[in-house]
Symmetry: D2
Subunit: 360 residues, 4 copies
């Protein structure tokens, strides 16, 4: 006899891109039953008006986001605007697993939060990046361990995941210096959510590339720094510039840091990345063959819970250059949530997730 356990999952903020992507993944999850779908201004409308690509849920009606509608589920996913999750989370059963896709509970430092978000800090939850390397006296641990049985999980920012996964192996192994990191990202437009703004219209975006939040103003900066410090960096200095390019999904993060020791061979440097990800199902260092290394593209990751990484050493400048591709809505958001949920529930972390991208 097989006893099958099914978990009920509610999604608050179901009409947005992040909420929709969580639902797309959950419909493929064998141990999940989708519960209440809630929204704020669109409550009362059918989900299919917002996510017509989710055929099996199109006829479901959005309920208002309240503690009542969210109560009684095993899992609640909060896909709300930044600043909105603290209050609602406080009213949910402490035994309910709550995953926050917003930024509210990611940062450890209240001062960082207040500087970048300009509001009081809602507190810090277990951080939902299972592959995060944690430097410690007994060697490197993984953040995964802190997610088992967690009941409050803060899912990382999409840019954060891309830059962290690209650089952490070198920092953890001590082969790169975290004091002068530069990261520049090519970002798809779904990362901006469903907001209506002139620079997010199709006419402006098609055929164009544009930088934003230039000069150290992006809110993901303190979160990346926090991760790199966890991986073993002391002081972190990070120049971070995202650029919007004409694609709906995807992040291609180019991140570079100086070698700590210029006499390290290419193979010695590369070994840090090999070791970091050889056992990880959702982060992969692409092959480096005799014809040259294979470099990630965002299309390879579309729809998949995977981050693909490649690394090169630029001897002339004494820097390591890493390129990381991921789907901002999957490994960057909703896939990270499902993966963290699996871990917190004691399920295999791969359940319901795929590493196969939809390409071309």
């Amino acid at each position: 006899m097989v006893m099958q356990m099914t978990y009920s999952v509610a999604v608050a903020g179901a009409s947005g891109y992040a909420g929709g992507e969580v639902l797309r993944l959950l419909t493929a999850h064998p141990e999940v039953e989708i519960g209440a779908l809630t929204a704020h201004s669109t409550a009362g409308t059918p989900l299919g008006a917002h996510h017509p690509h989710l055929r099996s849920l199109a006829a479901r009606t959005l309920e208002p986001t309240t503690p009542d509608t969210l109560a009684g589920h095993d899992v609640v996913v909060l896909a709300l605007p930044h600043g909105a999750s603290g209050e609602i989370a406080a009213q949910l059963d402490p035994e309910t697993l709550v995953l926050d896709l917003g930024a509210d509970h990611r940062l450890v430092s209240a001062a960082d939060w207040e500087e970048f978000y300009g509001s009081p800090h809602a507190g810090t939850w277990a951080y939902g990046l299972p592959e995060l390397m944690l430097a410690g006296a007994d060697g490197v641990a993984r953040q995964r361990e802190h997610l088992a049985r967690a009941r409050r999980i803060a899912v990382p920012g999409c840019n954060v995941t891309a830059v962290t996964l690209g650089l952490q192996p070198g920092i953890s192994a001590g082969v790169v210096d975290p004091t002068d990191i530069v990261a520049v990202l090519a970002n798809g437009y779904s990362g901006a959510g469903k907001s209506l703004a002139p620079h997010l219209t199709a006419a402006e975006a098609l055929g164009s590339a544009q930088a934003y939040a230039v000069g150290g103003r992006h809110r993901h900066i303190p979160e990346i720094m926090q991760n790199l410090r966890a991986a073993g960096a002391g002081d972190v200095t990070l120049s971070f510039t995202p650029t919007l390019v004409p694609m709906a999904r995807g992040i291609l993060a180019t991140a570079t840091a100086r070698l700590t020791d210029p006499t390290l061979s290419d193979d010695e440097v590369r070994q840090a990345w090999v070791d970091a990800y050889v056992a990880e199902p959702f982060v992969e260092l692409l092959p480096s063959g005799p014809d040259g290394a294979q470099w990630p593209t965002t299309a390879m990751t579309t729809g998949a819970n995977v981050a693909l990484v490649q690394v090169a050493v630029d001897r002339r400048v004494g820097r390591v250059v890493t390129v990381t591709a991921l789907d901002n809505l999957v490994k960057g958001t909703a896939g990270a949530a499902v993966q963290s949920m699996n871990i917190a529930l004691g399920l295999p972390q791969e359940l319901g997730l795929t590493t196969q991208g939809v390409a071309p």
Copy 2:
């Protein structure tokens, strides 16, 4: 006690887009074990060099496409250039289920084949469009019935599926006249395969739309006509023009035909489409609400085995206008193959397939 049957599937032509998409779907299929992957000029190279998005298969090596490498599988999928499947298929075990993604075995009429393809006809196989409506003395049947226990299946062309599914309800019900059909399609570039040609380069494609095969020259025309005749049309006259637009995947087919009877109400017309698809899991008529009908977009179908249809009556011109969206590589090719395979093997047709698109 549950006895689980697993079917081994070989894919010939695995380095192309159609072969890759079959593999993407099969890795999610619970009853399939992926067997030999074969290719012609790229035999000996790793699959990951051609489909780096298929992470779980990236290290697999392509074998040469020969009867030997394909032998011993329960299922063989042929994703070969037009004209290449006849010879290889003849050397496969008659009890093996063979699905041909090429055009070779789709047409009933050898004369049509010779006119449009310019080579001898390889013969006609069971046609892999389960939802095809078949007019008959006892009412409407479905092509699905002819696929059960079939061992040779010709998977339809992607444009063919889009136009057929858009129009067949009206033809089957007798509400539209098949003698002056016009179809114009917006097509993504993956439909052209991996061929290297100037007009298929990114620089030429980005920011541009281009028609091709204008004037009745496209090879999918006789196949569409064959389907519409099967659905009940007598004479079929079809003007068909595809246009390449800057997207990687997707077909948006706008097809129009005259009403047979102008006195039919909108609801009466619509009912033909409602009836045709209400019980079909992979073809859906989108809702027609008080705020107006919801029209399909190709993004709704990306990666999904689904065709979405909407229909309107243009009273001024006495025509029905239908718009059908599908993913050319899924419901248009590889998903149709897997769905047909399921039926032929006696499995539930939905196995391993999803209707949820990857959007935005």
Copy 3:
């Protein structure tokens, strides 16, 4: 001694796409001085905030759109929302040349206006499509003649120009039958203007195609029919469906009509198009060489005041298929305005205009 005449031109609605494109063209016009630039809600802001690509005008400040700010110019271009130009035009000097880029003054039939726009008709102005063929007792004339010395000109809709130019040669020559025309268009997003709506965002548009105004609801329909009647059609029946595809600019119009006489040879049919455009500088029938006809793409026309046309006969269905490409903002809007302005002012119609597209 050369006396150079310079005309002052004001642009009302300068912050929108149509207004901006008029300005882009006027800065290259040798006989024009750009006068007042006016706007409604954005009055008081610099033009560079709305059109940062117009470097030479970026520092100019937008004034309010009033009769006073527009007074005293030789030419006023109205790039206003539909319905807004009638009132302002009535307050401008009758001797001022006024070009309306909106729809208000295009239609001859007040009933058509009221049916499609739902407001009182503002009256009919000289129609700014110089190449429009006019059937008459003395043979074919051109609309150009009616623009000389005109002081009120209604610039055509962009889709209208594409479909009219594609089909009018065959109608004028009597080789095609106007009673069952079907036109399907691939449209770039700038045609929708700067409005903020969910389906016009980059995230929704990228990688997708979507139809709109399906079923005979698009407001350009009566205008196309009016043109084709002018060219010699009696009754016109037109099925018209636009589709948005992921490009910023451009229209690719596929339009088909039945041959009046199936015994006409391909050359006889083609001759109608040759004759229609051989002397036109801004409309060109692409070559039909021994290797096959060259088909227009929208990229060929980007930024240029040109419409490119190709035609084929589909013998199986007895239809002519035409494909017309143009830039919706240039030959479809602002270029047509400048060309009409040149004619009205007695200048060479080519002044300040180019037929060279910005491609790739």
Copy 4:
């Protein structure tokens, strides 16, 4: 009496993108007559087969690229593959103005050439970046001075121009340190020319971003370093990574360098950029208003001979971040050639060039 001088210009390599763009600009140049158009493998075909967007030249036939066909012109533009211009240039009249769009004659250091291009160095020509700042004992000069009356001009690489223009003001003024520069670029696909390669197809490019030449391997690196040294840098260390993003044209270059003195105010830093470009017609520092700086996008520059620059100081990391947008085919290639030609011929440098982009 006005005596108008007209210069005859031949273009070798006219069927490629760079050659085509030179022709597009020259057709708008008031003092130029277009002479021989030559090509290698496509000689004998009409230009319209390769550049159908250049309507006025479409019927011209390509001649073979030989000293004979190029002889007798005032100006010869060489748009040839790297390595091909040295031999042909040696056979042209020394009094003929020759502009090389290839890399052959850009580098001063033969060793750099041999390291990055792997062939013997063809020699160094006057460098066609008029705005290049030249540090000297008597203050800053401009490269423009060296172009007056030059008869051999090497036009810069497109990426080179973008990074040089972004950073040179800070280097020339001594406010940024050139020893740890990082530049990451978003590049349109036309920069890769017309080569047919799998990663340059539309199906692969659409919806994806990909890095290339990662790790200090791009051939533009020594040329950028050469320019920054000319502007006053001693040692230059440059990490340079280009990424292909789904647009046909455009470069968005994000380049960052450390402040030499952290106590410099934002205004003091910015002043270096203000001073550098206030008098330049083709390079513009975008405004920095009370609502925040305006950041360049590539669409602002499409088709225009303009580079748009913005700069920010990131205090946390002690770095200046600059973003530069330009059209790789115009200010990055063909516009630079025409501008340099104008200067060499003693014409106003603006002749035939526009700063107005084709946007959206």
